[in-house]
Every structure is written in C-alpha cells, then in structure tokens.
C-alpha cells in the first residue's frame, strides 16, 4: 500500500513537472515558457494585481458548476478616466477546457500592458485610452481537469454538466481510461492480420492504410480505454457534453439541432455569470475569445441566413486583415465559412451586446517542422484535410518531436494487456501536443496574438468634436455647426446595433438655448441638412470608422451654449460656445 502511495506521488510530481516546466515561483513579469494550471493562473492574476494595485482590480465574477472561481482582471488607469467612460477591450480564453494556451495569451496581454506601461509609448497610450477586461479562463473546471486528469488533447472541453450521451440512462459513465497511467489518453492498436492498417516502412510508429488487396497488420481500436458500462462500445459517454461555445443566447438551438447546446440558453452557470458581467459593461466595443487551433481569425456571422451590414464588415476587416499579417499562417473569415453554429459566444457578443467580436484559433497547422528548403514536404493535393491522415506530415511532426522537443510530444507504442482485447499496444500523441505548442514556442505565440488585441485596442474609436461655424442668421438666431471626427478604424457603435436597436445610440445634445431646428448636415458645401422633426436639441447618431459627421443647430437666445457628445462605447465629449 505504501509503495502504491509513493507511486502515485511520484507520478503526480512527474506530471506537474512536465506541465509547468521547472516549477517556479510566480512573479512579475510572468514567464511564458510554461503552461499555468488553474491554480497557477489564479495565482498569476493575483500577483499581477498586487504588483499594480492602482491600475487593476481582480474580481470573482461567478462560480462554475464545480464551484471554482472565475476571475476577471480589469486594467484601467483611473487618472485618465473612469472605466465606463472609455472604450472597453474584452479578452477571454479557454472557453473549451482543453484549449489552454488561450489562457496564456490573456495572461500575456495583461502582463504586457502592465509591465510595459510607462516604458513603451504605444502601450502606454493604449492603457491610458482604454479599459481592458481580461478573463483568462472561462471554463475553469475544464482547465483544472485537463491538467489534473488523463485526457486526450481534445477532451475536457465541456462544461461540467453531466449528459447521457449514449442515451442509456447513465450519465458520463464511459469516459476513456488511462490504462498505462501516464496522464495522457493516447491510442490503442492491435496486431490483426485482417486489419486495415500496416506499419509505415519509414517510421513504425505510424500506421498507414492498406491498399485494396494488400495484407493488413494492425487494427486501430480507438482511444485508450475499456468498456466501462458494458454496452459493447468504448469511451462513448465521457464528461458532458455541454459545449460552452454553443450555450449562449443569440440564435440558440436545442441539442438535437446543435450538438452540445445544453438544455436551454445559459444552462451553464459560469457562462450566465460572465454574460451578466458583460451586460454591466456597455462600454465594451471589441471582444476576443481565444481558442485552439488551426490559425484562424473568425468574425460573425456564424450562420448562413444572417447578413451583416457592409459598414461593420469594413470595420472587422480593419482588424482581421492586419491580424493575418501579425500572425503568419492564419486566415481571416466569417465563422460560418468554417461551419455554421448556433448559440456561439461571438455572435452573442456582436448581435446582443454590439461588440465587434473575433475568435482567435491559436496555433496554425504546419508549425511543427523538420526540414530544409530541399526536403520541404510537398503539400498533398488530395488530403482529407484532417491532421494525422497525412502520412508525410505525420512523419515530419514525429521528427520534430524527436529532434526539437526531445520526444515530449509523442508516446512510443508499448505492449499492454487489455481486459477485453488481450495483447494490444498503447501509444501516440500525448495530451500536451498537437493542438498545443510545445512550451518553447509559447512565447512567440502569445506575443503575436496579444499584439493583435493591441491592434484592435488601438483602433477603438477616438472621437473629437469641434464647433466649425457659428453664424448669426437672424434676430436672436444663431446657426451652430459641429463636426465629430473618428480617427480610428472602429466606429462609435456597430451599424447592426443601430439598425436593430441593440443598445442606445450616441447622443449629441445642446443645452443653454432654445434649439429651433437641428439636424444632420448631408452636404456642407451645398448646405443640405436633414432636420429632426421633434426634439431637435437631442440628436441620435453614430460616427463611422475613419469618418466624421456634421450637425447644424439653429439656436435662439444668448449666453453660453453647451454641446455634449455622449456615447456608450466611445469617449464622451463636451464643448461650449458663447453667443
């Protein structure tokens, strides 16, 4: 028994050691040559907050199904204004529990803003102009289990709400099993003269499909596991599945239409808490949700029946088209072009909260290389598109594993006595591989992707207002002309929100005199104005990206006339003129 405990302790230490590189004290500046588990992310956030107490606050915004705390770090320089008066930049990650490097991108962004504030001019300006909301780990249970339990690189995605995936009356009863106790769920293969596979002559770790008529050597049995519920199927009812990126309110469809939707919108309690928190911050104008993998910048819509206004597409493009250049190997496209989804987070942000939202699918394919210019493998013209089916690429990735990560990404096949299958072999890509860059590559990944968030923050609207003309046009009547200019790439509010009345429009308000007439100037040279019929002293408007709008007011009276511009998502302004 004692020996057994030692064994467990030993493997636990071994796993931790792997997960986080050499375990070290977490201090500012944070290190990004390692992955932080859930507790360490929390610790890292506290350390950042403690180092910059004036610039940050750290809030627990809700709890998960298993009671873990969901943290949000807010970075705001109070000296340059209150939070809600500045355009908000929202960044989150790790909504799928297994997509852990997304959390590191968030931590890096926070770390970069805070440690370079006052040193780097561009970053200082962005910190002063915006408020930054950062939730590194949305699916806190998923991340915790991904580190603590044996998993594949694809599992522990779900929100921890049990679901009877195989419809047998039992919930989550047949997950994969870590038969060899190495902390990863890898693959099982069995020698089988009637199998469909044979060993690759170049690398015996790879199985290749037999050609028709060729004698087989192996069968693939699937992920490491046993038939826990004795129904003749392996690993068919693992945790969940409630996909945290299908459970949001906008365009939600039930699970028989959208797998993983959950029983009703926001059945995930952590997601509900996050939505309520976002609702209280109507100043957020840009949002990023980081995922893995494949190297993509995705924008709404996620369905093929909705068209979004051209002005908004242009605004998305300002960021998306430049983001591609910052992150080599990434593509930029509407989310629906990947596949249509219902109830996803990004559509919810855009259509419900009026936030320009991006999904960043971190880590492009083809990053794990082992070749020179001459040996560069040709892209197979007719691949199935799925990684792993492409033998050429698998060979190269294995050499990358052998020579650059010293074998840490792949577990060699080892014999195992399976209770049902008898003599089998277990091996393959480990949990911390494939969708995740090896820690040595992490620094570049987090930096480039955080730079895209910075680009977006830089492009949040910056409105300036000037009185361009005051002219006496009658007895006791003055004409005042005002121009509002946006020098950045994002408009003061999304066109979609304006059309569908998602939130309050911007307001231009005159006080101090009687406004006889007022309206938008359509052509200043030709003196064309659309007057507002009622209440001309309050105009509702929005200011386009890289654009300006002009308004004209006919004001009766004397004295000081105040002009206020109020926006939910852009900066607020006030000016005045003496008549």
């Amino acid at each position: 028994m004692k020996r057994y405990i030692f064994f467990i302790l030993f493997t636990a230490i071994f796993q931790l050691g792997y997960a986080s590189g050499v375990k070290s004290k977490i201090e500012v500046p944070l290190r990004f040559d390692r992955y932080y588990n859930y507790e360490e992310v929390t610790e890292a956030l506290k350390v950042l907050h403690n180092a910059y107490p004036e610039m940050t606050h750290l809030d627990v915004i809700g709890k998960s199904e298993e009671g873990r705390e969901i943290y949000a770090l807010t970075i705001n320089n109070k000296k340059t204004g209150e939070e809600l008066s500045k355009p908000g930049v929202y960044v989150d990650g790790n909504i799928h529990g297994n997509e852990i490097q997304a959390g590191e991108v968030c931590l890096y962004y926070a770390n970069m803003l805070l440690t370079k504030y006052g040193e780097n001019e561009k970053i200082s300006k962005i910190v002063d102009k915006n408020v930054h909301y950062i939730i590194p780990v949305v699916n806190v249970d998923g991340r915790a289990h991904f580190f603590d339990d044996a998993h594949t690189m694809h599992s522990s995605r779900s929100i921890r709400v049990p679901k009877d995936d195989d419809n047998d009356g039992l919930f989550d009863e047949d997950a994969p099993n870590d038969l060899d106790g190495d902390g990863s769920i890898t693959q099982m293969r069995i020698k089988d003269p009637y199998g469909q596979y044979k060993l690759d002559p170049d690398d015996s770790r790879i199985l290749v499909r037999c050609k028709p008529g060729e004698k087989g050597e192996y069968s693939l049995i699937g992920s490491e596991g046993i038939d826990d519920d004795g129904d003749g199927r392996l690993n068919e009812d693992a945790e969940g599945y409630l996909d945290p990126n299908r459970n949001w309110g906008y365009d939600w469809e039930p699970p028989y239409v959208q797998r993983g939707a959950g029983n009703f919108p926001f059945s995930g309690v952590g997601l509900k808490a996050i939505n309520e928190w976002i609702t209280k911050r109507p100043n957020i104008i840009i949002g990023f949700a980081f995922h893995n993998n494949g190297g993509m910048w995705l924008r709404p819509p996620a369905d093929n029946k909705t068209r979004i206004p051209a002005a908004d597409i242009a605004a998305f493009d300002v960021i998306g088209k430049n983001a591609k250049k910052i992150t080599p190997g990434y593509v930029y496209m509407p989310s629906v072009d990947l596949y249509p989804t219902f109830g996803d987070f990004d559509s919810h942000l855009y259509f419900i909260h009026g936030i320009f939202s991006f999904v960043g699918e971190l880590y492009p394919d083809g990053a794990e290389t082992y070749h020179d210019d001459e040996t560069k493998p040709k892209k197979e013209s007719e691949g199935s598109g799925y990684r792993g089916d492409n033998t050429e690429e698998t060979r190269e990735r294995l050499k990358f594993n052998d020579n650059i990560t010293q074998g840490e990404l792949y577990k060699d096949w080892k014999p195992y006595k399976h209770p049902v299958y008898g003599d089998i072999e277990i091996g393959g890509w480990v949990k911390m591989s494939s969708r995740l860059p090896h820690p040595f590559m992490l620094n570049e990944l987090v930096h480039r992707n955080a730079s895209v968030v910075l680009l977006a923050a830089e492009n949040t609207p910056e409105i300036s207002m000037e009185i361009i003309d005051v002219k006496k046009v009658g007895n006791n009547l003055n004409r005042i002309r005002v121009r509002l200019v946006n020098k950045n790439g994002l408009p003061s509010m999304a066109k979609e929100s304006e059309i569908n009345k998602t939130h309050r429009q911007d307001i231009l308000k005159i006080t101090g005199g009687k406004v006889v007439a007022g309206g938008k100037i359509n052509d200043i040279r030709l003196d064309k104005v659309s007057y507002k019929e009622k209440k001309p002293e309050i105009q509702f408007l929005s200011i386009p990206s890289y654009g300006n709008v002009e308004y004209q007011f006919l004001v009766e009276g004397k004295g000081e006339i105040k002009i206020n511009y109020e926006s939910l998502k852009a900066n607020n302004l006030e000016t005045s003129v003496k008549l």
Binding site: D229, D231, K534
Partner: protein
C-alpha cells in the same frame, strides 16, 4: 386570568389541530390579485402538508415570487405532469383555472396516486398585476427594464388614458393621409378603405396616448418589459422587443426551464392560457423546418450509405440504409439521422403526434357537449412563437396540451326560417338513405345555402353515400370546417362576436363608445374601442362554472399517460447451458413513450432494461435501452445467455419517468 390564558391556549391548539376547519374555503367567484394567489397557494399547501410542497423558483423583476405547488411530494418513481397558466399575464381566468385545478387534485385522491403534479398559476406576475391596476391596457410584459426605442430614457412613452375611463382603448382622428373609414355595418367598427370600390380613407387609428417624450412616435416605449408568454426558445421571436433579447433572458422563464429540466420525470405538460391544443391541434404548415418525409442525403453521406444524392428519401428509408450499411445492435432513431444529416429543427407537429391531438380534440368536443357546454365559440388563439406550450412539445418532446378557458361565443347566423329548408344540424342527424331520398333539387339547395364548395354536387354526394363511402355526418363536419367566405363589407366574425358579447353580456360596456376628447397635438379626436381583456375574461360570476365544466378534461387526459411494465417472459433452453430469454415489455397507456417529437429530439429520459445474475451474454447486453414503445403495445427484447448453473436473474425496468419495476426470472428452472 390564568384560566383565561389556558382557555386561549387550548383554543389555539384546537385550531392548529384542525387546520382545515380553521381556513376559509377557497372559492372562484372573483379574479385574485397576485398577493391573493400567493396566499391561496400557501393555503392549498397547508391543507395537505404531507402531500404538497411550495417551491419558489424565481422572483420577477417587479419583485414578486414565482411559485410552483408540488402535489404528490410523497410519491416516488411516478411520472409527473407540469401545469402552467397565464404566461402572457393578461388571461386572468387561466390563473384561476390553475388554482382550481390544484384544488381538484387535492379534493379527490384519484389523480394523485400514480402521478405527481406541479402547478404554477402565475409565471408572469408583473404583467398579471395589470388587470388590477387603475389604468388597464391588457398588459403582457413584466418589469424587466427595456428601452424599447433606444433613446436616452427607458419606459418614458407608454399609453395615456385621455378620456379618464381607466382603460386604454384606441383613438381615431380625421387625417388626409388616413386609411380607415367607419364601417357601414356598425359605426363602432373601423375598417380599411377599399380603394377598389373607390373608397377613400378618412381616419387614422392609434392606441390611446400622447407622445410623452416628444420624439414623434406614440406609445413606443411603455412600461417594461418582457412577455414571458413568448420568451421560450422554440421559434424564439428575436425581432420582438417584448420577447427579450434571447430566450430566458428574464428570470421567470429561465428558472422555469431549469426547474423542468431538473425533473426528468415530467412526462406531460398542460398550459392554461390563450391557445387551445385541446380543441384545435397545434398548427402545422410552417416553412423552413426539417421535412423528414423528403430527405436529401448530402454527397459524402450518400457515398457512405450507397445512396443517391439526387433522390429524396423518407426517414424510414434512411434508417433502413444506415442499418444496411452499418448494422449493429444499436437502435437507429430518427433523432440520430436528423442530427447526422444536419436536418435542423422541427417546426411543425409530427404526423404521428397529430393523430393523438386530433383524436383527443374530437373526444373533448364530445365531452363538452355532454356537459352542455356551448362549443360554438371563437377559436382559441394559435400558440405564439416562443410560447411555453410550443417549447414543451418541441424541446421537451412530451405531449403538450393547452386549454383556453374562455372565448366569446360566435354569433349564430340568423337563418330565415324558410319552409322546408334544411339546416346543417338537421342533416347531421340523417342517415345516408334519408339524405339521398331528398332528391337532387333539395340537396343542391341545401348545399348552396350552406356555402358548400363547388366540387360538392348532389349527384356525386348521393353516389358516394349510396356506396357507403360517405355519411351525412361526415359531410356536415367537413362543411363546418370550411372557411366561411367573407362577404363584401361584412364585419369579421370576431368583431361581430365581440360586439354581440359586449351588448348581451356587458350591457354594451365591452366597447367604449367613441367620445370626443381634446388631444394636445391633434386637437379634437375621438377615443373608443374594445375594452382590453374583453376577449378572454368573462364576468367573475361565470368563472366557477367555466372551470368546473372544462378542467376535469385535463384530469381525464392524465390517464392517457404511458405506463411501462413487464408483461411476460419466455425462456427457451437451447441445450448446453445456452438459453434464449425473451422479455415482453408493455405500455399500458394510450400515448406512446416517447411521442414522435420525443423520439426526434431524444430529450425524454430513456427506459432501460437491466439484467443482473450469474450469466454470460452471448447476444445482447446487461443494460438495454428499450427505445420507443407505442401506446397499448408490447415490445419484445431478446437475449442469448449461457450459464452452467440454474440461477435466478433480476430483471429491472429503469426509468427516470416510470421508476423501477423488478422481476425475478428463473433460468433453467
């Protein structure tokens, strides 16, 4: 003094000991306020504390609790029925209905022995308050803050009671751009001017009010809020501000969904309100949904299944193809196929389910006749997109029955009593022989007088009746269902019925007579129109009888709930310790489990047969999902087992709905 105190204590004890005696009776002779409804629920709970429990599941944005009375707390392992009422908030009789229904359940033990009940009379209390407020406008939204016009203020421009009568009706005023005229048939009603007849509009019509916020729009941002009656996720109406921004945005509907999903034993749902599936089956014909009888198989799946991507298949054909190509023991359900092929959501009731809806609606009409209940009333309102009753059917996949407890009687067409002319009712009672004996001339006259379609001819019908294919009763039923052609200039059936109802029942007060009022902007205008609630809310003295006549039908319907039990088993000794075990499972209820929609969405909890004992399974497994089972049907499951002993094995039916049924089976006995 001391004595007196003892006496008091004794009295208290005596009262406590007889709680039923101490409580006033619960009666239904008025509409109860939200506070009174809460008190009544408490009273009902306290009257049977062992059987009942009161759950407070949410608090409305206006601060009123939403409560569910559980009846059958003491029961385990039984199916449950959820009863919700007045989601739209402006049908107060449905709240009374739910309370009366709870009382019926508690008054007789008959329906609470094998079924657990959850009764929720007031899911939208903020809106329900509108009936009792000083100014009534038929409020259906709660106090959730919504800035409908997205200007600088919320709730700043609601309707205004210009004529000070405490109700919001309509205003009409003469306007050059108006498109309405006063109806020639009844000067109370406004109709659209008919350009083709050379009419020119004279009036504009609007809801009674002023432009409080001076933005040029009238009543565009009134109080609240979200209408709980359209805030559920099936066909959620995103475009309607009063639905909320997403399904379940307001706590009432969110917590109702959570409460129901936390209780997988809920196998049937009743809704009291404005729709009436009990009398008119849920409507179909919506476009855009998955058509399961006409499925195209996309290319990549077509290759896998050796199917033709150009051809259309029925669901059964696709299931057959999948079985053929992938075999296995697993039951292939329509749900799996629909999910795999990405067929999308169902938006029309499934054919199999329409069968029971139609049958029960016919039975219900008979039942009402038996109770001397006038069924010649305006049809119930079709269930709205985002409604609770649609959600229960489409998302929970359980039978969902809705009942509207009151609509206004139709106006009987005044029949000139022409000598010898036959009415529909006369003909309905005739035999085929009697009808054909009338002769061609009389039959044609009858058909013409009753708006029969052109394809009905005396000769054709007589031939069909002579050959026994058609009866006068069937013919009359068909003719009654035909839409009545709207005659030129006629009032709509609804307007006619409402006016008649206002005159006969409300002394004309169901319609506020047009009255000239000074409007701040339009000057002289007229205010008038139908009083809110008139369509759905009878006088208080009518409540009790309406409830007593209609609600017991829902008790009867509860007996149609499926019930899954062991029927029989058969063991065949094949020699060498190998046995064939056949177990017969029967559904003693009328309804299948699950219904077709439940099969489609896989939401109802499965029924699983487990076998436990010292046997090896040669074929079959120890936990076998039953799949679907039809009403009054038996399903056979087969295993091949091997054993060297002669063991007794334990067979169990496991189900979150029906509980557990256990049977010991002796093998080789």
């Amino acid at each position: 003094m001391k004595k007196l105190r003892y006496f008091c204590i004794a009295c208290c004890l005596w009262i406590l000991g007889m709680p039923l005696f101490a409580q006033p009776l619960i009666s239904f002779d008025k509409y109860h306020t939200t506070t009174e409804v809460q008190q009544m629920l408490k009273k009902l709970q306290q009257s049977e504390p062992v059987k009942t429990q009161l759950h407070t599941i949410a608090t409305s944005p206006g601060g009123t609790p939403v409560s569910v009375l559980e009846i059958g707390k003491n029961l385990e392992d039984v199916p449950a029925i959820f009863v919700g009422a007045n989601f739209e908030g402006n049908v107060p009789i449905s709240t009374e209905g739910a309370l009366a229904f709870a009382k019926m359940l508690l008054d007789s033990a008959k329906y609470t022995e094998k079924i657990k009940w959850y009764v929720m009379p007031l899911p939208n209390p903020d809106a329900a308050k509108g009936y009792f407020e000083g100014i009534k406008f038929g409020r259906s939204v709660n106090d959730f803050e919504v800035n409908n016009d997205m200007d600088d203020l919320p709730n700043e421009d609601g309707p205004d009671d210009l004529n000070g009568d405490g109700i919001i009706t309509q205003m009409r005023y003469k306007d050059l751009e108006g498109s309405f005229v006063i109806s020639g048939k009844d000067s109370r009603i406004m109709t659209k001017a008919d350009k083709e007849k050379g009419e020119r509009g004279e009036y504009k019509i609007m809801e009674e009010g002023i432009d409080n916020d001076g933005d040029g729009k009238y009543n565009e941002d009134g109080i609240g809020g979200i209408n709980i009656g359209i805030s559920f996720p099936h066909l959620f109406p995103f475009e309607k501000k009063e639905a909320g921004k997403w399904a379940g945005q307001s706590p009432e509907s969110y917590e109702i969904m959570r409460f129901i999903f936390d209780r997988p034993n809920i196998a049937m749902v009743y809704t009291l309100g404005s729709s009436g599936f009990c009398i008119v089956p849920p409507k179909g014909g919506r476009k855009g949904g998955a058509n399961l009888s006409n499925i195209k198989i996309p290319g990549r799946y077509a290759r896998m299944l050796n199917a033709d991507p150009q051809k259309s298949y029925s669901m059964d054909e696709v299931i057959a193809l999948v079985k053929e190509n992938f075999g296995g023991e697993m039951e292939i359900t329509p749900s799996m196929i629909a999910g795999m092929l990405g067929l999308g959501a169902a938006v029309n009731p499934l054919d199999e389910d329409l069968k029971f809806y139609t049958k029960f609606s016919e039975d219900y009409k008979e039942y009402l006749k038996g109770k001397n209940f006038n069924t010649e009333r305006l049809d119930p309102t079709p269930a709205k997109d985002g409604s609770f009753e649609l959600w229960a059917y489409y998302h929970l996949g359980v039978p969902s029955f809705s009942m509207n407890l009151f609509t206004v009687p139709k106006v009987k067409e005044e029949k000139k009593a022409v000598e010898g002319e036959l009415s529909l009712d006369d003909v309905e009672k005739m035999s085929a022989k009697e009808f054909t004996a009338l002769g061609e001339e009389k039959i044609n006259a009858f058909l013409k007088a009753n708006n029969a379609p052109d394809r009905f001819s005396a000769k054709g019908i007589s031939d069909m009746m002579s050959s026994g294919k058609f009866t006068p009763k069937q013919m009359v039923e068909m003719m009654k269902k035909m839409p009545k052609p709207k005659k030129e200039g006629e009032l709509s059936e609804k307007d006619k019925a409402l006016l008649a109802w206002s005159d006969s029942e409300w002394d004309g007060k169901g319609f506020v007579a047009w009255e000239t009022v000074k409007h701040p902007e339009y000057g002289e205008i007229e205010v008038g129109g139908f009083v809110p609630y008139i369509e759905s809310t009878p006088k208080p003295e009518a409540i009790d009888s309406l409830l007593q006549k209609q609600l017991p039908w829902l008790l009867q319907l509860s007996e149609k709930i499926p019930s899954v039990l062991f029927a029989d088993e058969k063991i065949t000794d094949l020699g060498g310790g190998v046995y064939k075990l056949e177990i017969y499972i029967e559904n003693k209820g009328y309804l299948s489990y699950p219904i077709a929609m439940g099969e489609r969405n896989s939401q109802p909890a499965p029924v699983v047969i487990t076998l436990d004992g010292e046997v090896d399974f040669l074929e079959g497994i120890s936990r076998t999902p039953l799949g679907s089972i039809g009403g009054n049907q038996v399903k056979k499951l087969t295993w091949l087992i091997k054993t060297d002993k002669k063991p007794t094995i334990t067979a169990k039916i496991e189900s979150a709905v029906f509980g557990t049924d256990v049977k010991q089976i002796k093998i080789g006995g």
